[in-house]
């Protein structure tokens, strides 16, 4: 037992710094991904409901654009967002280059088609007669939309997970627009789990990279579990 302690403690001695570093990276990762997913959801759900339940010219085209967007290469999104927020770009005056907000923007662009596409499939599968029932019971159009979302909740939860998964595990665009910045004191500013893993691997510090990788996997699993649990907690499972 004392022997074990002796071998373990040097490892812990280095931990305070590393631990701060890792914690701040996790915080930045979660902040950027969660905010991006929240914003995406706010945009995606109305679009999915609108596209799902109205007929208009170009609906098929719009649907296929959304589906194409789901597989849009993240590096290209990063480049486009970089041009948009860069000094000369249309959003240049906001001074967003190399900030978490720029990363949120690029994650938003990445996650929105995924969330819209999967939600669209989910809400489209809600039966019309259930929507009619909500309307006939005195529901407004908004009530009908709410019922649709509730009926499609497992599909929408899947959509959010897919969007979150894409956002938090994505490395190309956040590296380009965020710059992978950590302060001299080891506090992450725009360094996320993915960009940190890339950096640590590049420097051959595979232990740290592995720890970060494990945290990333655990985070994704945790969020999955929470969403699944929330989804099944309300109303019961069919």
């Amino acid at each position: 037992m004392p022997l074990e302690l002796a071998t373990v403690s040097p490892l812990f001695a280095e931990f305070p710094f590393e631990w701060n570093y890792i914690r701040s990276i996790v915080r930045v990762s979660l902040y950027v991904s969660l905010v991006a997913v929240a914003l995406s959801t706010l945009c995606s759900l109305p679009v999915a409901l609108l596209v799902g339940f109205t007929e208009f010219r170009g609906k098929t085209l719009l649907t296929s654009i959304i589906n194409t967007g789901m597989g849009f290469p993240s590096v290209v999104v990063g480049l486009i967002v970089l041009f948009a927020v860069s000094g000369q770009g249309p959003l240049g005056s906001l001074d967003l280059v190399f900030t978490p907000e720029a990363m949120i923007l690029s994650q938003f662009v990445l996650a929105t088609p995924v969330i819209t596409g999967v939600s669209l499939a989910a809400v489209s599968s809600v039966e019309q007669n259930v929507r009619d029932a909500a309307y006939a019971m005195g529901g407004t159009r908004f009530d009908v939309a709410l019922v649709t979302i509730k009926e499609a909740r497992y599909g929408i939860a899947t959509a959010l997970l897919a969007g979150f998964g894409r956002a938090i595990s994505e490395v190309g665009s956040v590296l380009i627009v965020g710059g992978n910045i950590a302060g001299a004191d080891g506090e992450s500013y725009t360094r996320t789990l993915t960009t940190a893993i890339q950096l640590e691997a590049r420097q051959g510090r595979f232990e740290t990279a592995m720890i970060l990788g494990a945290i990333l996997v655990v985070l994704v699993l945790l969020v999955n579990a929470v969403v699944v649990r929330l989804g099944s907690g309300n109303g019961g499972y069919r």
């Binding site: 710059g179 950590a182 001299a184 725009t190 051959g204």
Partner: protein, 309 residues
Amino acid sequence: MPIHRREMLAGIGGGATIGLAGCTSSSDGGDDDGPEISGETITLTTTTSTYDTGLIDELNAPFEDRYGVTVDTVSQGTGAALETGRSGDSDVVMVHARSLEDEFIEEGYGVNRRDVMFNDFVVVGTSDDPAGIGGGDDVEAAFATIAEEGATFVSRGDDSGTHAKELELWDAAGVDEFGEWYQEAGQGMSEVIMQVGQTGDYTLADRGSFLSMQSEIDLEIHVEGPIEGGPELLANPYGIVAVNPGAHDDVEYDLSMAYIGYLTGPEGREIIEEYTLEGEQLFFPEAISEEPNFQQYVPEDWAPSEADD
């Protein structure tokens, strides 16, 4: 505590002037109505080779403490670092490719260039040295031999300072045919060193990056740079340039100048000098000298007659 911080900020304007020209100035900057320091952050773009050694963090911490400013460091290839400066997205740029820095200044994007420090390039490779270039100090001959023997050479291939130097060396060695033995990685220095350690035979690396990785891989130096008595051709000088506020009026010019002043001043020199990895000094400061060195401020081939008009 916030008040303390405000005082810090008020002093920055003065700090910038001190750092740049050595003037004793500014009683208190906080009272006048002129524009105050607008941001508490400057963005430094620099090369992966400086960032990955850990030197930048070591340099930034005391600067941030003293000025109450955050330095956001983005590590890119030399080409990308300068490009970011060109678009006004960084405030100050530290790179190691003099010809590219000169271009940057000549185009009007950079002002007040200073030499900061140097280290050198080394030719590294697997310890079995398949092309047999070890021990010599003629880097041109070594490059020619690698090409002749067709030993694998991993190039950065990423428009970095190291890549620029490597191309210059092939040119000097008279090699203009590149076969299968020549692999462009398109990656940072550390990745390339890792790659050579696993699959390749040789690469050109800056000494700092190599030393910082030495414990991770099984490679050794086959041709030394000037620090260990090798040819001057392998020198690797780092320069720092502020982004010209005339080109981009929203850059943090005064803070950048404070940073340049700090890096090229006594405190910066001391930190650079004392920074070691695996017991070896990585960089050699060259900003402070009794002898004037006007060349550092202007493009290398610039002559006064051109400016006389």
